[in-house]
Symmetry: C2
């Protein structure tokens, strides 16, 4: 089993520092929304669904700390807190979903309590927000399980499966999305072997995904990202499954950089390419991938690996952290509400309605 990623107790959220994995499991204590946002920006906290759950707790933490005394103060604090959390990872729509849901609860509370809050109302607000955060978390865990089961049904017998980045238990509060499909498929006796792409520059595949797969006793092998085409061609890979940071209304999918290239390579070999993600990952306001902003992260993350410089000084490097895979390259979306295929605006709209 994967150790807990978030532990919320007594006004403190302990966030697993995933930068330290697989070497050790340690937690960062967060008592403010700003601390949650910082952990997200610093990549201690990662994985779109997990960031959403952490943001929900971060929202509750912040309002617990601020203890607004009037509806107006609550509205202002809630809006500010939601904005602060959302700015930490603009690509992760699950973060927007969670922050907006918490904001809605806070605004509802303000509407329902037009007069200055007494101690009982202040307690009730915190309790309501904490309950909502726990609900978001429980829904995420449940969604993972459903995604895993729907996905496992798509896999052939003796499946050799490949994944990119980490859409595992570490990225969620449940069994993971893409990795959940692999572990549920293994439990169903269908998965023979899994390949994890290391996922440069941050190496989530090497540090996190193989670590999870080893703990779940899935026979697995680590490869560098550029080996994928050779391995797909020569090792009988017959399914690829990845997660998503944001899915546009037409199915275009933003995910960790490298996903797009892998989808092209899958198509070339006629291997099905699945995106596994909970429905809150779908951003109906983004009509297509063109509307998704790609975050450009520091190039230091490209030229320095585990503290060691790998390129000449003064080198210029790029670091788009995500890329967009067009819906046409995606065989199916695997969601907690079922499998969407072919991936297009009509089928997605019908499933989300």
């Amino acid at each position: 089993m994967t150790p807990p990623r978030l532990i919320y107790r007594n006004g403190t959220l302990r966030i697993m520092d995933q930068r330290l994995l697989p070497d050790r499991v340690a937690y960062i204590p967060a008592r403010t929304a700003a601390a949650v946002a910082k952990a997200t920006k610093d990549m201690a906290l990662r994985g779109a669904p997990l960031i959403g759950c952490a943001a929900a707790f971060g929202f509750a933490l912040e309002l617990r700390r601020l203890r607004p005394g009037t509806p107006a103060a609550l509205r202002a604090a809630a809006r500010r807190t939601a904005e602060l959390l959302k700015a930490a990872r603009p690509t992760a729509v699950a973060l927007f979903y969670a922050a907006d849901r918490m904001l809605a609860r806070a605004l509802e509370f303000a509407d329902a309590h037009p007069r200055p809050f007494g101690p009982a109302e202040k307690r009730r607000l915190v309790s309501l927000l904490e309950k909502e955060a726990r609900l978001i978390t429980a829904e995420d865990a449940r969604a993972c399980l459903d995604i895993g089961r729907h996905g496992a049904r798509l896999l052939p017998k003796n499946c050799v499966i490949m994944t990119h980045c980490n859409a595992g238990a570490l990225a969620t509060m449940g069994i993971g999305t893409a990795v959940g499909v692999i572990t549920e498929g293994r439990r169903a006796g269908k998965v023979k072997r899994a390949y994890a792409c290391e996922t440069r520059p941050y190496l989530q595949g090497a540090r996190l995904t193989v670590w999870e797969l080893m703990r779940e006793k899935v026979p697995s092998e680590l490869i560098t990202d550029n080996m994928a085409a050779h391995i797909i061609k020569t090792c009988g890979v017959n399914a690829i499954v990845v997660g998503a940071d944001r899915i546009a209304a037409n199915g275009d999918t933003a995910n960790k950089v490298g996903t797009y290239g892998l989808a092209i390579i899958a198509r070339h070999h006629g291997v099905p390419f699945y995106v596994a993600a909970p429905t809150p990952t779908v951003d109906m306001e983004a009509r297509s991938g063109d509307a998704i902003e790609i975050e450009e992260r520091s190039c230091g993350e490209v030229v320095v690996v585990k503290g060691r410089r790998i390129a000449p000084r003064k080198v210029r490097a790029r670091h788009p952290a995500f890329d967009v895979t067009p819906a046409g390259l995606i065989t199916a979306l695997i969601t907690e509400r079922g499998v969407i295929s072919p991936v297009n605006v009509r089928n997605i709209g019908a499933r989300l309605a």
Copy 2:
């Protein structure tokens, strides 16, 4: 200018230790063929054409050291030395070409001198072998220049070009093959920008290619291998050029792992994909890529980067060092004898005849 990769003087070959780049330039002294083979196996010496040149000097060194006294001893020593050198990097056909050419000179000498050798004959043998090694080296430098010029003519104006691994000056005794096309293209005013893929696991792109491009004042950016598809799609890349370790008679090309995936991605975007290599890289005995053995190197090279472990202990990892790009994905072969396109057995045979 790139510092010399090989310096041969007085029975010692000084081999640039490319594992230390870009941090420092240092040389390994080799006095035997075994030392040259070891430098090749250890990756201090790399780049198919350069390995061939080093093997030629290694052959001369070894015969200089052994000083065989009879034609039979010469034949035996020459055959043993050629085998030893060839075993160091089975994928690099330029190595086979150079070793076999040196072997042929040695066997001719044995045939021409049927009686035990006197001191003058022993000197003549060494001098003949050293001269042949220098000729192989000079031919390589000349071939690079011709490849660079032929390749530069293929590039459009304002070309944005991408390369993988290092097929640069560091891989040859000249200006390089793929990188030679870029630098000659730049000299002709055609190259606006170059992207170098870092080339995991050994990071030849990050350590060597950008270093060369920066020294040659080509505006360049480093990317991780898995960014290639996104960069090609969003940054106007309109040519990709790579080197080759071995080209089968039908044009299927073995090169550093990642080349095959990049060729698929290029095809998907309609971007021309060029392989730049001297004609000795063509192995007419390999009918197709299926006949090319892919060397599987230590998985330690995948899980340890610059001495730092990046994956859990006991992880299983794969390390195919090369992959095969089918001729159908290659727009043209750029050789010192001219451009071969479309890439097929007939056109290759005609050019090599």
